[in-house]
């Protein structure tokens, strides 16, 4: 017996850590996501800090008109304008640009080559057919995909767990009726609904979240329902009832923690499914509006410009790596939560 008692959750975490591939996938994925969260500092057409004529300016947080830097128009400054860059290069002045000088929707009006342009020193992964930097769109697109996947997963898990728990715990007629309603709901043609809604409303990210969430919870609720159905007959649940605990306490403290295995195991797979769904819809043009950076839209561009290999190849690589990392994590999680596996190292 070990002197320190580890909770089942901690032991699962230790088993996960022993799964090298999954563990490093998690670290890499979290690292990439954290980097992409700072995308504004990495890919931006505005300098981070400007020192101009003895004064500090922070274009990231404040919009300055061009006149501030000696331009002619009171419009927001275009920091890629060779004129402005020249002013910043004067002695005493300086501008600290991010590593990549382009944001996801920056159009470089001063580009030397026609669009889509192949990779160059200026655009590391080239530009798309409208002259936007591919690297910037990839980083912003990755961030959007992951956030979208997370939001969709969280909403799906919350709805799925609650409905599954109620059905499994109370059973009987409530379960019977709810199951039939779910069957009816799940037979609605999801894709057509999205197409119809996309033609009625302006395409937006939130519309997609609502539509996909409305259908995304049902698979999970089945698993949770089955777990609750099984666990509510276990003896420690009976013992809890005999002790005088209420339904909410029994569900929350005794059944739910012991029913989370399928939920947690499916988390990475649900995320990758959500990301794929968003990508596919964008690819078909049914997803987010075209100004929003998205991997699906880049894939569609790659298909439209087959000779511009840098678009399709780089997008493909980002997608494959993202989904692969999620799959590795999912496998490791599944092993970690498999109670039949021994704890021995």
């Amino acid at each position: 017996m070990t002197p320190i008692s580890l909770s089942p959750r901690r032991r699962a975490w230790q088993r996960f850590r022993r799964h090298r591939l999954g563990y490093w996938s998690l670290i890499l994925f979290v690292g990439l996501f954290a980097l992409s969260l700072c995308a504004e500092l990495l890919c931006n057409d505005k300098p981070l800090v400007v020192r101009y004529q003895g004064q500090w300016y922070f274009p990231l947080v404040q919009t300055y008109p061009e006149t501030v830097f000696g331009g002619d128009f009171p419009t927001p400054a275009d920091y890629l304008d060779p004129f402005l860059r020249q002013r910043f290069a004067e002695p005493g002045n300086f501008a600290l640009y991010p590593p990549n000088h382009y944001s996801f929707n920056t159009l470089n009006y001063f580009a030397p080559s026609p669009n889509p342009a192949p990779p160059s020193v200026e655009n590391w992964l080239g530009t798309d057919d409208r002259g936007r930097d591919v690297l910037a769109r990839l980083i912003y697109g990755f961030r959007l995909s992951v956030v979208f996947g997370l939001v969709l997963t969280v909403i799906g898990v919350v709805i799925g767990v609650i409905t599954g728990a109620l059905m499994g715990y109370f059973g009987g007629r409530f379960d019977l009726v709810s199951q039939r309603l779910i069957e009816i709901w799940s037979s609605m043609p999801e894709l057509y609904l999205i197409i119809i809604f996309a033609s009625i409303f302006d395409p937006s990210l939130w519309l997609l979240v609502v539509l996909l969430s409305a259908f995304g919870w049902m698979g999970l609720s089945d698993y949770v329902r089955a777990e609750f159905y099984r666990n509510r007959t276990l003896e420690y649940v009976r013992a809890a009832r005999a002790l005088g605990l209420g339904n909410r306490q029994i569900m929350g403290r005794h059944i739910l923690p012991n029913s989370m295995t399928p939920v947690i195991t499916f988390l990475p797979f649900r995320m990758s499914a959500s990301i794929l769904a968003l990508t596919s819809l964008d690819f078909l043009g049914l997803g987010v509006p075209p100004t929003v950076p998205s991997l699906g839209e880049l894939l569609a561009q790659g298909k439209g410009n087959l000779d511009a290999w840098w678009i399709s190849l780089s997008t493909f690589a980002v997608l494959v790596i993202t989904l692969l990392l999620l799959t590795f994590m999912g496998e490791a999680l599944r092993d970690a939560l498999d109670t039949r596996k021994a704890d021995a190292p």
């Binding site: 013992a239 005999a242 002790l243 005088g244």
Partner: protein
């Protein structure tokens, strides 16, 4: 037995499983027609020994060294194809769980036919005839019809018989029976043991019987080998072993058995637990738990010694240990001598639990399973009422209905003078604190994700009881014999017996007056069972607890109970004090239950099955007296009319026309 050359010989067999050696140098031999019993607690390597004979060890385990020879044939060096021919034809095996060993999608006939085709090259009509003959031989009624039945259509006892028929299909010379009756009821166990003994006699088969049950061993064995921590510690003839067990471990196993004569005393317990098999053993493996331990025991592995005629033990003692009762029995608990002089704590009147049978699209109710059908009980503070009966007779359902974990269909439950039926959910939760339940399976009754302190504190918190939780939990743990510093641990770190103690502490936390114990020791080894029974007895004396004790183990009833109620098909057939019921059973069913328990004293094969057949389905109980189809005394009256209650004494009621 006779001095012919042995059929099966194991010579210094060692099985390794990772770092552990579940079988560490086992040697024994079995002659043709002989029954050799391997006896020991769980985790001693009995099943591993059996599986290594058939070379059916799990993938992670392998035979490290030693020899297994069957009829002169070395088994461990045979090529796998050759070994396959040995299995089933030379050696057959039957397992503990008959339900899990039959393929649910094949008929019984197909499964026996498989073995017949493989080993005896029988096909078609000849095979069917042979299969039907086998089913007949194992005592399955109407074998022609059963031949085409699927496993789910058979009861547990019938499945075990079908398993035996399958094992016999290859006409093996050796049958390995791994706890063949542990999953069965005591009356069915008696039938199956009878069957095995008869088949063995008729066919001259040798048998290796694996069991933890001294009674089963006494009934079946010619010779006995006691296993402890992967080694044999004693080998003796059956008579010699049951007369005078030599090894301290064997003696303590006997002392731990609950029997009536120990009613006023405490049961002997073996301190500690079986050591983990990956430990490095230097001295005697039993040294840490042995009351006769000497210096040499810890330094040196003991040699084999002759303890008596045909009796060998592995022990440093020169003569058999001679543990006296005084040494084993620690103290005498005080018995509450005044019987039901109090107002009853619990009064149950005509309790019924009927489950509707629903069929079809509209779920119409077509009938009822009368799981509990008019049960009346009464229990005074500080007393123990045992409810006995075979599985499926409604014991557990009765208990759950008492606590209103299942809603009773009719009847009254009065607890401390309060009527429980019809209480609101909230009032019921408060009332339930006075009656708690201890469950059968200590592995399923504790939430694996909660620490011990949270498990115990939960009930107190739910009822908002006042007090200093940490001190209360420490005291409770001490009362159930656990160290108070175990509060931060999780259930998986405890053994079965310790878990059952935690479950008892959880129940005691809300200071109940009634504890409903649903087979609390049936999942535990004999020595651990003794610990738990002692604990329950002590707690009863300290707290004047009343117990409703549900069990199928008559020995436990004898040790613990003041009153006994015998249930059959949802009704109580006989009720009275423990002495009345157990010494002088008046209902034929009670008599059969008691007779079916294998006895340790007397001749081998003494006792045996008194009643035939299985319990009928409670959905469709027989007309008249429910017991009449199995009753040796039944006549026309029994077939027509359910017997009225007859009072034989102040405390005793029997439902039988013949009483």
């Amino acid at each position: 037995m006779t001095a012919q050359s042995p059929l099966l010989t194991l010579d210094n067999l060692t099985v390794s499983l990772g770092n552990a050696r579940p079988v560490a140098g086992i040697s024994f031999s079995v002659a043709a027609g002989e029954t050799f019993a391997l006896l020991g607690e769980s985790g001693c390597g009995k099943s591993m020994t059996a599986l290594s004979i058939l070379r059916l060890l799990p993938d992670v385990a392998s035979i490290e060294s030693g020899r297994v020879s069957l009829a002169g044939q070395e088994l461990q060096t045979l090529p796998e194809a050759e070994m396959r021919r040995q299995r089933g034809r030379e050696v057959a095996m039957i397992f503990q769980e008959p339900g899990a060993c039959l393929n649910p999608v094949l008929t019984i006939g197909q499964q026996i036919g498989e073995s017949l085709a493989l080993h005896r090259k029988l096909k078609g009509a000849v095979a069917k005839a042979a299969a039907v003959e086998l089913l007949q031989a194992v005592g399955i009624p109407d074998p022609e019809r059963r031949w085409s039945d699927y496993p789910f259509q058979l009861s547990g006892g019938m499945k075990q018989r079908a398993m035996i028929a399958m094992a016999l299909a290859g006409e093996p010379k050796l049958l390995i029976a791994d706890e063949p009756t542990t999953a069965l009821d005591v009356t069915i166990q008696a039938q199956v043991l009878d069957l095995l003994a008869r088949l063995q006699r008729e066919r001259g088969m040798a048998m290796v019987l694996i069991s933890h049950d001294l009674g089963v061993v006494a009934r079946m064995a010619d010779r006995v080998g006691v296993m402890y921590a992967g080694q044999l510690v004693e080998v003796a003839s059956r008579d010699r072993f049951f007369d005078a067990p030599a090894h301290p471990y064997a003696q303590m196993l006997f002392a731990a058995l609950p029997e009536a004569q120990r009613r006023v005393g405490r049961l002997a317990t073996i301190p500690g637990r079986v050591p983990p098999l990956d430990a490095l053993f230097v001295g005697c493996r039993f040294a840490d738990r042995c009351p006769k331990v000497m210096d040499v025991c810890r330094r040196q592995a003991p040699p084999w010694k002759t303890a008596g005629e045909g009796q060998q033990m592995r022990c440093h003692l020169d003569t058999p240990a001679q543990l006296h009762r005084t040494e084993i029995i620690v103290e005498t608990a005080q018995e509450d001598a005044s019987p039901a002089a109090h107002l009853p704590l619990l009064q149950v009147t005509d309790l019924q639990v009927h489950f509707p049978i629903r069929r079809g699209l509209l779920q119409r109710t077509l009938g009822h399973v009368k799981a509990v059908d008019g049960v009346s009980l009464s229990l005074a503070p500080g007393r123990t009422l045992a409810v006995v009966g075979e599985s499926g007779c409604g014991k557990t359902t009765t208990a759950k209905a008492l606590l209103h974990l299942i809603k009773p269909s009719a009847g009254q439950v009065q607890f401390r003078g309060t009527e429980l039926t019809g209480l609101s959910a909230k009032a019921l939760r408060q009332a339930r604190a006075g009656m708690q339940m201890v469950f059968q399976d200590p592995y399923a009754s504790l939430n694996p994700r909660m620490r011990v302190k949270d498990i115990i504190a939960e009930g107190m918190d739910a009822l908002k009881l006042p007090g200093d939780r940490i001190r209360q939990i420490g005291e409770l743990l001490q009362q159930v014999g656990l160290a108070p510093d175990m509060t931060e641990r999780y259930p998986h770190e405890f053994s079965g017996g310790q878990r059952q103690r935690i479950a008892i502490a959880r129940a005691l936390a809300v200071s109940p007056q009634l504890l409903v114990c649903d087979e609390p020791t049936s999942a535990l080894d004999v020595s651990v069972q003794a610990q738990i029974l002692n604990l329950l007895k002590d707690l009863q004396a300290q707290r004047r607890l009343a117990y409703l004790f549900i069990t199928h183990n008559i020995a436990v009833v004898d040790y613990l109970a003041h009153e006994v109620a015998v249930m059959y098909l949802g009704r109580i057939v006989e009720q009275g004090t423990a002495d009345e019921i157990l010494r002088d059973p008046r209902h034929p069913y009670t008599a059969a239950l008691i007779a079916a328990v294998p006895s340790l004293v007397g001749e081998k094969s003494a006792g045996g099955a008194v009643i035939a057949g299985d319990m009928p389905s409670p959905a469709n109980p027989p007309q008249g007296c429910h017991f009449h189809p199995r009753c040796p005394k039944a006549d026309d009256t029994c077939r027509r009319r359910y017997p009225e209650a007859k009072s034989l004494s102040e405390t005793r009621v029997v439902h039988c026309h013949w009483a």
